[in-house]
Symmetry: C2
Subunit: 486 residues, 2 copies
């Protein structure tokens, strides 16, 4: 544990820095249950803003929320062969309930395809009942050996979308619609621009035909899989006898998709924007946009406090999420430090002199190159300019993260030695040719711990398609992006 003032610098030990930021910004805490965390109000406030934004995007595109049971009969999980192979080692099993041993053990959902498609099969008779576009916000459980706050916990919160369609083409369209929607959310709300693309067979969701993913590059140059969208084909509908009458009077199995993002995104946010002082929040996901710290000294206290509350009300009228820190504990300096550590985008300081001069001191948490951290503004100007400053900060954070991703993306790497040099050195995304064989994928992984994060979507592909496989030198069938990952 670092001293009260300083965090372990990122450059020294990124993993230690990460844990310290999460704990000291009071985003989460360890719980007495192995691998499960407690999400504290500041962390949950961020998650609520993420939920609200995503939920609107889902609803705008015709999806509805529902809720399916936490417990799934073990026999359900076993129906789809690849699915159970993927999840069996990770499930938590309820064997007793109501004081008795259960006839059939129930597993806590690691994901809900099986029980959801069982229900869909009950509700759908004909093509007229399709598509079904559903989502649920829920907790899931995957028993993990090595856990990290937010990034990998045995229980986590997520949304899982599940849809059913009358044709393969429609299911494919849905899979990609959601991939695009996730990308938009990560760019426009999180200021965390991901790379998108198709997963290789080795990295595919257990039971999917195709898995698409958003891969974001953290500040330590490791990739974070931040969201996935799966085309499930008819794999589950066949096992759960989910058939429907087609428009031409025949019968077919439904085509499914599933997709999810989780509280892991909060960890991604920390590792994308945090600095050696603590958390840095993009305004759109900041539970508090502006904290006002009144400097209370003697006689002037009342006037200062009145001013703080007036500024708060004026900012709230501009739609700004604002809080006055008028606690009578702690020095102003200690308060500044606490809110910086918690990543609040703007701090307004008001002291007796500021009241006299009719000015406010506005301090930014995130500073782009060349900007001043601190500004002295006339009160009315300050209030009016806050919404614009928040927008500008949001845009600058995205720009900064994009520049960092591009600076650490290495295109056209053809030489395996050079690839190892990058991965084993500073890391980052390496774009290179791949022959399509699992053997080459495995060799690179065994040598360097880097995996193929994805075969990039068209807009991310290099102008010159690679000709040969990075590993074996045979003809390339696709461009792939390698990186070490969380």
């Amino acid at each position: 544990m670092a001293s009260e003032k300083g965090l372990t610098p990122r450059g020294e030990d990124f993993a230690a820095w990460y844990n310290e930021v999460v704990l000291r910004a009071e985003l989460a805490d360890y719980s007495p249950v192995r691998g499960c965390m407690v999400i504290r109000p500041h962390g949950y406030g961020i998650w609520e803003l993420m939920q609200r934004a995503l939920d609107e995007l889902f609803k705008e595109t015709g999806h509805e929320n529902a809720y399916f049971p936490l417990l799934i009969p073990q026999s359900f999980l076993e129906k789809e062969k690849a699915h159970i192979e993927g999840f069996a080692p990770e499930v938590a099993v309820v064997t007793h309930a109501g004081g008795k041993e259960l006839e059939e053990p129930l597993v806590i959902r690691p994901t809900s395809e099986t029980i959801i498609y069982h229900m869909f099969a009950k509700w759908v008779q004909s093509y007229r009942d399709l598509p079904i576009l559903m989502n649920q916000w829920a907790n899931v459980m995957r028993w993990e050996l090595r856990t990290r706050l937010f990034l990998r916990t045995s229980e986590f919160l997520w949304q899982e979308g599940h849809t059913a369609h009358a044709s393969e083409a429609e299911a494919q369209e849905e899979t990609q619609l959601i991939l695009g929607l996730y990308r938009r959310f990560m760019e426009d709300w999180m200021a965390m621009p991901p790379l998108t693309g198709l997963k290789t067979e080795a990295e595919r969701f257990a039971g999917a035909v195709r898995t698409y993913a958003c891969e974001a590059l953290m500040q330590d140059n490791r990739a974070l899989q931040a969201g996935t969208s799966h085309h499930l084909g008819q794999n589950f509908s066949r096992q759960f006898d989910f058939r429907f009458q087609t428009e031409d009077g025949g019968e077919d199995y439904a085509w499914n998709t599933s997709w999810g993002v989780s509280t892991r995104l909060v960890g991604g946010l920390v590792m994308t924007h945090g600095d050696d002082v603590g958390l840095v929040l993009p305004p759109r996901l900041a539970p508090i946009h502006v904290v006002i710290v009144p400097i209370l000294r003697g006689d002037a206290s009342e006037a200062v406090l009145a001013k703080a509350h007036a500024v708060r009300d004026a900012l709230a009228n501009h739609g700004v999420r604002v809080r006055v820190d008028d606690r009578d504990t702690g020095s102003p300096g200690a308060k500044f430090w606490e809110w910086e550590r918690k990543g609040v985008p703007l701090r307004v300081e008001i002291g007796p002199k500021d009241v006299e001069k009719g000015q406010l001191v506005v301090v930014r948490r995130f500073v782009a190159g060349g900007e001043e951290k601190k500004s002295f503004l006339a009160e009315a100007d300050a209030v009016d300019s806050v919404p614009g400053m928040l927008d500008a900060i949001q845009a600058a954070m995205l720009e900064g993260a994009l520049a960092r991703r591009e600076a650490n993306s290495h295109r056209g790497v053809e030489d395996y030695g050079r690839f190892r040099e990058i991965i084993e050195g500073d890391g980052g995304f390496v774009y290179a040719g791949w022959c399509g064989s699992a053997a080459c994928e495995t060799k690179a992984k065994d040598d360097t711990k880097a995996t193929i994060r994805c075969l990039p979507s068209e807009e991310f592909r290099s102008a010159d398609a690679p000709r040969s496989c990075l590993v074996c030198g045979d003809a390339a069938t696709a461009e792939a992006v390698w990186a070490r990952a969380y």
Copy 2:
């Protein structure tokens, strides 16, 4: 199962009617897991509106959301003696996870006092860290033998508030603040006016010092416990060593409260307002306020559809939740029937003649005495009047429910025979004196299945305080309200 058109009438078999409404309005469905239900989009949409309203009320009063683990070590539950006695028979137990038997079994939370106060103890050092005002939206599990959709399911969704205070008086104030807030929500959003009061020892939450409850009267004259607010005293803080430094430099255990409402409220809504046609929703909790059904016939179809979409846009601009049912399946009559069954407050019908005349047909789901169900309104008037109609419907539904509750509340009952006559006849709330002994409470329950729902809050007490106990005739120590309950 009743025929496709008609439900079992309420007067014939209220329980059968209830299940049919829930299933046919597509609020919920049975799941393959015993005692667990699936909440379908229409039911979940109602729950989302309930959540939004309650969440705002909690936040306005200074509460913050957080999230605590699903699984609780069995040893935690056992620390508070009354608590484990209450919950032990109902817990579901995880004995295996990650392919291994666990060293200590974990229970799926039936409620989270134990794990939450364990965490609070870690976070609080001094009175300056108090109060803590937290809430979580979560699923919980209580293994039930006899389950009913929404009313009693093994898994349910709820919110559980947990607070910690530096004094008993503050905790008591919080307990009653929340009771009042629940009452306001049930009246102003659900149009389900509850009686509030204190639970007797027999009906108290396992581990609480005092339990306050909202008790609503359903159409079959049985009571539904709709929300509870518990003053926990120092019962849990002592067991979880949750101490703090007091303002005068001493040390004390914290004073806790906990409180919750659940998806059971959706069941309460059905049983308060439903009729023999199906669900009837109060506008503030209706996922769809207005459904527009275009009557599409031949050449005029295009004009009718265009008008339907124009009216939709105009209503949406008034803040109305509106949907056009332009599905090409089913007759208009079948659509009318579907949306009535689902309780949508207003239906707008638009046919070729209406387009010609510039009128809309507006049909109400809920009709107060003397009102017309159907109105023919000029288009502009109709659009402008919808928000006011929705408000009027909301108010009329509350008024109707209040009148029903009062008509079925029997005050000043002194004779035990008369009490049995009421309870074993039409039912309802019986206000009568009680001596305070568990023996009298038990005798009445054994004789009639009625329980003391609560000792009513001051505003609900009878003008003349009862003098003698309904059961034994000894001096009354309080007024009590008896009813059969869900």
